[in-house]
Symmetry: C2
Subunit: 440 residues, 2 copies
Amino acid sequence: MVSITQLFGSYGANCKLDSFNDEMKFFAKMSILDWCGVAYAGKKEPVSKIVSQMVMEELGVNQARIISTGHKVSSRGAALANGATGHALDYDDTHFLFVGHPTSSALPAALALGEELDSSIEDILLAYMAGVEVSTRIGHILGYSHYNAGFHQTATSGSFGSTIVASKLLNLNESQTINALGLVSTRASGIKSQFGTMGKPFHAGMAASNGIEAAKLSKLGFVSRDDGIECEQGFFQTHGWNKEIPPRAIENLGTEFLFPEIKYKFHACCHGLHSFLEALDELKKVNNFNPETIKEIQIETNPTWLKVCNIEKPKTGLESKFSYKLTAAMSIYGNDTSDLDSYNDGVCFEDKMVSLRDKVNIIPNDKLTDTQSVISINDGSQVIKNTHDLSNKIEKNILENKIINKSVSLLSKSKSELISNMLSKPKSNNVSSLVDCLVS
Amino acid sequence: MVSITQLFGSYGANCKLDSFNDEMKFFAKMSILDWCGVAYAGKKEPVSKIVSQMVMEELGVNQARIISTGHKVSSRGAALANGATGHALDYDDTHFLFVGHPTSSALPAALALGEELDSSIEDILLAYMAGVEVSTRIGHILGYSHYNAGFHQTATSGSFGSTIVASKLLNLNESQTINALGLVSTRASGIKSQFGTMGKPFHAGMAASNGIEAAKLSKLGFVSRDDGIECEQGFFQTHGWNKEIPPRAIENLGTEFLFPEIKYKFHACCHGLHSFLEALDELKKVNNFNPETIKEIQIETNPTWLKVCNIEKPKTGLESKFSYKLTAAMSIYGNDTSDLDSYNDGVCFEDKMVSLRDKVNIIPNDKLTDTQSVISINDGSQVIKNTHDLSNKIEKNILENKIINKSVSLLSKSKSELISNMLSKPKSNNVSSLVDCLVS
């Protein structure tokens, strides 16, 4: 089949004024004159006033900061940029019921709009929790039929979540909030075929920005539908939903929470390596391995991962993120696998690292699920073995330590502590102090 | 079925901080701390820099004007607002192959970005023509299977068209333009269930804004796919496409043009009334009807319209737009049916108008298509008859006169002439002069 993208893209790039015949030019001019009249006359319509008002309020108001540059722009704009930034590394949290990354859109929406409104951390905490609980449940309803049809919940369901976030922060009443969800039903988009491109992290920004837009428009009186999600040809029906509503998605709303089933990434490398790295971390806590005396390391893993992250002799930092053997050696030598900087070209060629790397053997085991692994280390005197399953629940105190360690390595100790303290005293801190930590 | 929109909308509006249990609060704080680290570390990633850069350039630059307020905002923002404004009356052009309104997104994108770049009218004419030709062809490929699946080409295919518009104005090269189309494949959205709400005109703004966003990001180095439209789980496959490519949609691209099959609305009322009003306009040109002596007017129309626009005794301006009988009387009395202001509460109760209205008889005729009508007027001495089919091509000089008349009634004579002159001398006029006419 002809590539439509390329056909029309090349045409657009190469056509010139004299490529168009007089017929085309005549109708173009007619349409322009026609549109001008219709648009001029349409200026008095409520929808024109409302959308214009929302955009006008973005004018030079310096609402919220872009964290990667520190510039203040519209909160819609900051949410778009910061959403993409937060998901750029694909190192953020994941929810298996949501089928994607709930925080990646809800939090940048909360931070951007919260900064505009000078909200407290408590305000955004409430908005964020309401948003991620709703988006987790909507993501769960959309489920794998939506995902397998080609849509990306991070973008689509994320838009509903950030609409709730923004509606809370703007203090929308019930009908305004319902209406905002109805409106975002026609704005939410995002397809999985963008995976592997910048389109994927952009999805988080789109969702964050869509939510702010929908809630602001609804507050200004924009009228959409109060059933936009589930109506005939609404969002669900048009986006691969299998017409089933899993009971957990709608039951006990407000009293039970699905969001706490959230999972975190603790290693800045391919997800396929996380299970064995966890098993190894546990072993390291009770064993003092001497890398020099280790005779062999065996890693058993589900065979599907062998095509994904089994580069035997990685040569670059990027390749090191997809190597069982090298990351095993790095972990034994105490290199911090949660730190992005640990994965560099140099480590691939360190003599001691290469030597230990070549003592690692990878054993496919189809009895293991893709979240399970077994590691066995022959330290010269005995064989020490451990298993891990990423789907197991982690004790809260252990989890908290891991997240604090991760944030220290990514943010610095002082910033991590500052943010932790703000989250402990949410009432007495405002959003802009938190954004300060991310900007500087 | 439970209303999902209302369930989650009410929940969001009503939940409070103490509605959340400690488990939820713990994981919320963990996720926030986790995201902060990941986002902070992600600031160096190319996608973060690119999206941030695009949004940052919107900062206080006063790129383009909102026509309904005159304020300068970002060109993305102006396109969003002006797109909604131009489609607010649903009085703009329509293309049956596109299945929607191609100008409604392409032109506001051209005006907003053109104003930012200080382009000439010639520049935007080229960009606009390339954009509407592409969006007409893509709309045609998506066809009725996309439309019947619930999507609205004005929003979806319009996004591809405005991407071409913006790519031309930004002088993107071939691969950048293809990449921009690939990116907008994940941003394009818009569902038909929003019809009857402000969501419909908003679709035109969404599409206009999406195109500027995609082209700007592509220019800044954002990497998406070069086959985003047609790839496995790309835009086409995920949005109700029937996997057929009508030959006209891809053949003779650049040498033959589909856009000139565009249709215009010349009466500011329900589309169902347009056919007979055209037939009547033709009769009026060669007959001098005396409303006082008319004995009967018969209008034959396709029966489907009787449920749509046959209000026998309209009582409001809005109702008058859906009345065969009253609009026939208005037209005979010389009230301008292309002028929005002609449709008011007063005209519904004018004695002479009501008297003539009651001499009109509507005859359903299922041998007529929904674009055809027959009108017969008994003027007291003879019966004069005419037929009309909206799908017939209109002579260019007649069409031009009609569009000029329409634009005079909507814009004023002086503005209509100013814009016509600019379109005749596109090289020596710039976009901001055209926007001046729309703002003031």
